[in-house]
């Protein structure tokens, strides 16, 4: 285990940011802390980094008790949402910073910086200043800077949050590939479930200072342990007390067994996907997700009466 | 542990510095003034010459502040919204009073309006400038010139001129745009600048000392009177006037503290 957090609690005045949180991060994995804002995910990350001190609990990094250690001594690399670039230094000097203060020989630093710039594809930007780079380039620089000192653990705080959608998608893929190449234990914080699902091996879903569930993307999607996890990690529609994935909601043209009667309010065509908004006899609104072909086959139209049935459903205590 | 010591150490240095330079001397003067009761201080303050000195200070301030306020706003508008040659020079002249010794200011006016000066002929025609109220007013205007302009310029830059453009397209005249759109937007900057200007006017000494001639009861301001009392070995009198000026300074500080956040909120 690279990181073991046990019983971490943290309050800011009256606000409980973390409530007895425990988490294990396997060595070499890519873990996501996923949750809405205020869920405590950034706080947990900063506690691991040593940028916040927890009220209770302990942090063990690579087998050593790091709870009392200052951030300088923890061997963690940290990447900030807004890059925290040293704006008065060139890209090269930014990346070299960790090595410069450790007084490594100049030749060694130069070589390492060259390596890293190549890794993050910023070779020709070495002598520019951060202000002259785009957001995505700045974040790649920040990553190179954090990796330069060969940290045991890499922590990223909403690293793509400040970037626009396309750059975000590119960098997501890039991060995954980087991780496969470099294999550093990585933990990143995000509120974007698609990002977590796409990039991470293991996801910890957090809400109101508590970890609701930890698992792989598939596990979380198909076997959620709470309403929150189910609705946060994927689309849901509610049928009475049960929760159903919209693509698990079957639409039948004729009554059958336990299928409930419902009227189609609206059929929304979203390209390949079709969303069918229905209102049941008991006035409850649900929606189903069909493929275009399924929809054509059934010849659905607004105002039509149909029968809906869940192929798979979940009930939470 | 070291963190606590470091915090306390820096704090200790800062407090010692402030105490030795600022607070210690001030506290002592407060004490000394009222050492023998309020009566003595009151007597010192109510002599006719002293009362006239305060009056004169107030009159000069009452003339200088409005003039510099209007100038400051006009100047800021010109610098930020208009293009014209020599803007750098205008900027330099507006900032100059901040960097220039008050004695040099006084001397410059002395030379301009003195008997052999370029405007010396005014005296020949019965218009007394030097050693009289006009010179003192001009000197005070000079030294307190920059404050309103310097406070308004960054605010004007920050708010941009889109609102003004919108007003124009809706048919507002230049004056209406200024009065209804621009002025409300800069009002806190103007107020803050006015406070600074007033403080400067009330406290001016050097430039006025050169041009006033220091006729007791006529061309002596409150600050000049402080020195006069000291030179006449009336230390109690000097302290008493100083306390009044210090209390005014405290009021100014309070006003600055209250207004500054409002001004910064716009930026």
């Amino acid at each position: 285990m690279s990181i073991v957090a046990t019983g971490i609690s943290k309050r800011f005045g009256d606000f409980v940011a973390l409530d007895n949180v425990s988490l294990e991060v396997p060595t070499g994995s890519l873990t996501a802390l996923l949750g809405p804002s205020g869920s405590g995910k950034s706080t947990l990350l900063r506690v691991i980094a040593g940028l916040e001190a927890p009220d209770t609990g302990e942090i063990v990094i690579s087998g050593e008790d790091a709870t009392e250690l200052a951030p300088q001594k923890r061997g963690v690399g940290f990447v900030f949402q807004h890059y925290a670039a040293f704006k008065h230094m060139t890209v090269r000097n930014n990346v070299a910073f960790g090595l410069t203060i450790r007084k490594r020989p100049k030749a060694e630093i130069r070589e390492r910086v060259d390596q890293l710039l190549e890794l993050v594809q910023l070779q020709q930007f070495g002598h520019r200043y951060p202000a002259q780079l785009s957001g995505g380039q700045r974040q790649r620089m920040a990553l190179a800077r954090a990796l330069a000192v060969e940290p045991e653990v890499l922590l990223l705080d909403e690293p793509f949050g400040a970037l626009d959608a396309r750059v975000r998608a590119e960098l997501r893929e890039w991060l995954r590939r980087l991780h496969e190449e470099v294999h550093v234990t990585t933990v990143f914080v995000t509120h974007d479930q698609e990002e977590a699902m796409e990039v991470a091996d293991q996801i910890a879903v957090m809400n109101h200072g508590v970890i609701e569930q930890v698992g792989g993307p598939r596990e979380l999607y198909e076997d959620p342990q709470s309403e929150f996890v189910m609705s946060f990690v994927g689309p849901t529609t509610r049928v009475g007390e049960t929760w159903v994935r919209p693509h698990d909601l079957e639409i039948l043209l004729a009554p059958a067994g336990d299928a409930a009667e419902a009227m189609i309010e609206r059929v929304v065509h979203l390209g390949f996907e079709v969303r069918v908004e229905l209102v049941r006899a008991d006035r409850e609104k649900v929606w189903a997700q069909l493929t275009r072909d399924q929809c054509e086959e059934l010849e659905l139209a607004d105002g039509q009466i149909v029968y809906v049935r869940a192929i798979q459903e979940r009930v939470f205590a | 542990m070291t963190r606590f010591l470091r915090r306390f150490g820096l704090r200790g240095i800062a407090f010692t510095y402030l105490g030795v330079i600022l607070l210690g001397p001030l506290a002592l003067v407060f004490y000394r003034t009222f050492e023998n009761g309020v009566g003595d201080a009151w007597d010192a303050l109510s002599t006719p010459e002293t009362v006239n000195a305060f009056k004169l200070t107030l009159i000069i301030t009452a003339i200088a502040v409005p003039l510099n306020t209007i100038f400051g706003i006009a100047c800021a508008l010109a610098i930020v919204r208009r293009r014209f040659p020599g803007k750098g020079l205008v900027n330099a002249f507006v900032d100059l009073p901040l960097a220039l010794s008050p004695v040099v200011v006084g001397l410059a006016l002395f030379l301009l309006y003195g008997r052999d000066g370029w405007f010396g002929w005014l005296g020949d025609h019965g218009i007394q400038i030097l050693f009289s109220l006009p010179a003192m007013v001009i000197a005070t205007i000079f030294v307190s010139l920059p404050f309103v302009a310097r406070e308004v310029v960054p605010t004007l830059r920050e708010i941009g001129d889109e609102q003004e453009q919108a007003a124009r397209t809706l048919g507002a005249s230049s004056w209406q745009t200024f009065w209804r759109i621009t002025l409300p937007a800069i009002r806190w900057a103007v107020i803050y600048g006015v406070i600074l200007t007033t403080a400067r006017c009330l406290g001016e000494y050097g430039a006025v000392a050169v041009v006033s001639g220091r006729l007791q009861g006529e061309t002596e301001t409150a600050t000049l009177r402080v020195e006069e009392r000291y030179e006449s070995f009336d230390l109690a009198g000097a302290y008493a006037i100083s306390i009044v000026l210090a209390l005014v300074a405290v009021l100014v500080l309070v006003a600055m503290t209250v207004i500054r956040p409002k001004e910064e909120a716009v930026q």
Binding site: - | I21, S101, L245
Partner: protein, 276 residues
């Protein structure tokens, strides 16, 4: 284009130009009358005795002594301010303690207090009747003391906004990369705060060089010993030597101008990394 539109356009532009001309005219007239003309008269008068006359006064022993004294005390004060002003700004921005707002407000006191009153209060505590037995009246120490009083706010107020704006995450990034607190200060905080310190120092230096009111009482104005240039000029005026006064005044004027230009240059340099 209709005749209505062609008629409307020149009228609007004309009034724009007219109002510009009017406001500019007022502004420049005011500036000329109050600032430019007096300065011109000063420069003119200083050259009254020709270049030689100017030079004679400026290099006279008393003038040189005054100038030397003014410069080294002002430099000392500027340097003290650079360090202690930065420390004070740091404490005000990064530290938290009860009464911080009050301390923050007090910093501006030297702006609000008349210089003559400042001199008097310093004399009370550090003069012949000092209750703590410290008497530095009529010494060069009193010059430094008075200058420190009047220049106190400058560096503090120029450094505070820079510190406030400083991205604390840069410091956290440095720490996460292994930098000690000192290394973080030296390599990350200081380079970004330096322009703020420099412009505060330039302003403090300008104020110190020209300071008059607070020095008049406590220094005793002893020529060659505790007489600074501003007091020298004053004494020349009192004895009717206008050309002499003007000559030294022009020297101070030039110093002021140079400092103003430096402050502008520092500001330009400070924002170089924020421009693309």
């Amino acid at each position: 284009m209709s005749t209505l539109e062609t008629a409307a356009r020149p009228v609007r532009m004309q009034s724009e130009r007219a109002s510009t001309a009017l406001s500019l005219g007022l502004v420049t007239t005011y500036l000329s009358l109050i600032v430019a003309l007096p300065i011109a008269a000063l420069v003119f008068e200083s050259t009254n005795g020709g270049w030689e006359g100017f030079w004679d006064v400026v290099t006279s022993p008393e003038a040189i002594a005054a100038l030397k004294l003014t410069l080294w005390t002002s430099i000392a004060v500027a340097l003290i301010n650079a360090v202690l002003g930065t420390v004070t700004a740091w404490v005000l921005v990064r530290d938290s303690f009860r009464g911080k707002a009050l301390v923050n407000a007090i910093i501006d006191l030297p702006f609000a207090l008349p210089t003559i009153v400042a001199g008097l209060t310093l004399l009370a505590l550090y003069g012949p009747q000092s209750p703590v037995g410290i008497n530095v009246a009529f010494t060069t120490t009193s010059i430094v003391l008075a200058m420190l009083f009047v220049t106190l706010p400058f560096v503090v107020r120029t450094v505070q906004p820079v510190l406030l704006e400083l991205d604390e995450e840069m410091e956290q990034a440095a720490k996460s990369l292994g930098a000690t607190n000192w290394q973080t200060f030296r390599r990350v905080v200081f380079p970004n705060v330096l322009p703020g310190i420099l412009s505060g120092v330039a302003l403090a230096f300008a104020k110190a060089v020209g300071e008059f009111g607070s020095l008049v009482i406590i220094t005793g104005n002893l020529p060659y010993q505790t007489q600074v240039s501003s007091v020298f000029i004053f004494s020349r005026i009192e004895s009717g030597d206008r050309a002499g006064a003007a000559a030294v005044a022009v020297v101070l004027l030039v110093i002021s101008f140079v400092l103003l230009l430096s402050i502008g240059a520092i500001r330009h340099y400070a924002t170089r990394h924020d421009r693309d």
